[in-house]
Amino acid sequence: MIQKFDVIEKEALENLEKEQKSDIPQIYVGCATCGNATGAQSVVQTITDKLEKENIKAEIKEVGCIGMCFAEVLLDVIKPGQPRISYHGVTPETAEEIVDSYLVKDDHRPDLALGYFGEGGPADVERIDTGDVFKNQQRVILKNCGIIDPENINEYIAHGGYKGLAEALEMKQEDIISVLKDSGLRGRGGAGFPAGRKWESCLKPQADQKYVICNADEGDPGAFMDRSVLEGDPHSVIEGMTIAGYTIGSSKGYFYVRAEYPLAIKRLRKAIAQAKEKNLLGDDILGTGFNFDLEIFQGAGAFVCGESTALVMSIEGNRGWPKPLPRPRTTEEGLWGKPTLLNNVKTFSVVPQVLSKGADWFKSIGTEGSPGTAVFALTGKINRSGLIEVPMGIELKKIIYEIGGGILDDKKFKAVQTGGPSGGCLPEDKLHLAVDFDTLVKAGSMMGSGGMVVIDESTCMVDVARYFLDFTFEESCGQCVPCRQGTQQMLEILNDICEGRGREGDIEYLLEMGDSIIKGSICGLGQTAPNPVLSTIQYFRDEYEAHIKDHACPALVCKNLIVFHIDEEKCTACGRCRKACPVEAISGEKKVPHTIDQNKCTKCGICFQECPERFSAVVRLTGKENLAAAASGKEG
């Protein structure tokens, strides 16, 4: 290994030893965006003030996301010689209590604890790392997230960081590509293109300048994997990009980050400065003569910029329009016409480990066709929302029922949506499927970059399809007709169906239109836009038919197809719905069952939520008969 790196590594470990004072308690607070949204910063402030005021000796650290978003705010304490105890749902008040009881005294507060990590924890608290949430997970890309302080490069180095770069700088460029090819690593952005082949096609062309771009324009609604990696472990991505720069012969890289990710941008800036200071980035890296610099470019809010040619146009200062076909590959002619290597955040992040641990190690995880792990943002109607990492090949149901803890409020599972606006919805009988790039595509969905939204019986599948089409229609760049006009046509039909104007033949028309958009669009946005519609028709055609033929929304979601009605038998005239109704549509007096004036009702659903569950007098009705009755004023 490069001698200079040994010195840096030794120094980092020594500094860390000094900084960390392992003889006093360590407090970790999860301060990624989700933690901060729940109030992590006020917890940090409260504890900091308290430690200072009462002169309690302890170190407090802001870490990234460990993925248990359902349990935010998370506060972990490691007392010397004790395992890490995790507290959940922490508020400034309970944080003070934890300091008083566990740091000052020795009561570990099982009532506030979520559990502990490692061995030898207290008997009245659960062990987390072998429990349901973590036992099926394998954290490779996320291994440092929530564990290390992302703003301290020494911690990253102490956890094996920059070793991959130091090794790479002593390897031949072709050999690095061989390792990547041999490892079977596929791009984590969604399409799963083999990384080794992409890097190779960027090494070959001769050019005075080449570029490396990290695509962190995570635009899928319901996805926050890349953000979490950037916020929790920014150095891993910097290291991966620097290795890429060395491999293809580039001296300049760009982060294309969503402007909506201010914390990720802040942490990246800091990490870049720290890496430069240690000579791991910038000029003459580790004394090898290799120069590589990184710049951050903030995206301005256009989903299509996730497409490589559009992203390049955007950095160049233009509208983010994908280049028309036929177009040269970005690896040959990319940014300012130069060969450009573009990979997703997670792809770059895992490269250093693939190099330092070897191709065989990487291949030992996951499946033959899709080695490694998959990171998912698990959300929707699920008990334990969060950020998870699983070996490829795991069954969908293990993710949903074991890691995710099943469906919220004990409702019935209906579908799982992966791949965001480009993906599809899979029903219950597909839950045995293995999660990998190829299996999900065969079933009509796709891996995507990692959004996984769980849908229960109270969600309308036609409405979900309409939701995604509305998104892609809005985000279509407008350049090619199939995408611009096609998504609009599909959206109009879906609106008709959801609003009771559906006609016989609409389903067939959607299928035909979807097929044409896929075939005729010039970029990935259009080519995948119909997927949410096609997959919901494939698996939930009966719901479409109910909307069209009976004007019925089986999930009782589509506003125009439902009416709110008060069941006289059940109504106790408590008056709650009447007081809550924002449009004064409900009338009734004490002891007189209430009624809803259908002419005034805006179907906001507040009466339905207000009616106490023990009465359940407000009901939603659907179908032609009920709608007609309400319209004629018979219902109330």
Binding site: T33, G222, F224, G301, T379
Partner: protein, 152 residues
């Protein structure tokens, strides 16, 4: 050239590829992009105004008219959508008496929909500037606005 714009643009060399960072910087300073600012940016780079405007309107981050003092953003990412984000939006529109994309007449608030603020575990979510309100039901719309009133 407006003083504010001038100050911001002096930090840029004026290369064509700086259009987006310039627009971002000017909007950060002024709050939106008035016509004069677009003209100033075009002059600074030496390209037609239409080119700058064309680029700016492509991206959803940019605003071209004055906005409310506080920005109410209703998340309608997938997780928020399936957990009732739209009903929360309806309730806010009703409470504020405006539609998404508009300002209240007193310019206290602007209301808009956004796609995923990444706090999916708290769905449905509303952000008022940097304050996050999570796990909302429609009737809490009033409370969100009262808590966020710039006067309070």
């Amino acid at each position: 050239m407006q003083e504010q714009t001038k100050k911001v643009l002096s930090g840029f060399e004026g290369k064509p590829n700086e259009v987006i960072p310039m627009l971002q910087a000017v909007q950060n300073e002024i709050g939106y992009l008035p016509e004069e600012a677009i003209r100033d940016i075009a002059d600074h780079i030496g390209i037609p105004e239409s080119k700058v405007y064309g680029t700016a309107t492509f991206y959803s981050q940019f605003y071209f008219s004055r906005r409310g003092d506080r920005s109410v953003k209703v998340c309608l990412g997938t997780a928020c959508h399936v957990r009732g984000g739209m009903q929360v939006m309806d309730a806010l529109e009703r409470e504020m008496g405006i539609k998404a994309g508009e300002n209240t007449p007193d310019y206290k608030f602007s209301l808009e929909r956004v796609n995923c603020v990444g706090s999916c575990a708290l769905a449905p979510v509303v952000m008022v500037d940097d304050d996050v309100f999570g796990r909302l039901v429609p009737k809490q719309a009033k409370e969100v606005l009262e808590k966020s009133d710039p006067k309070v």
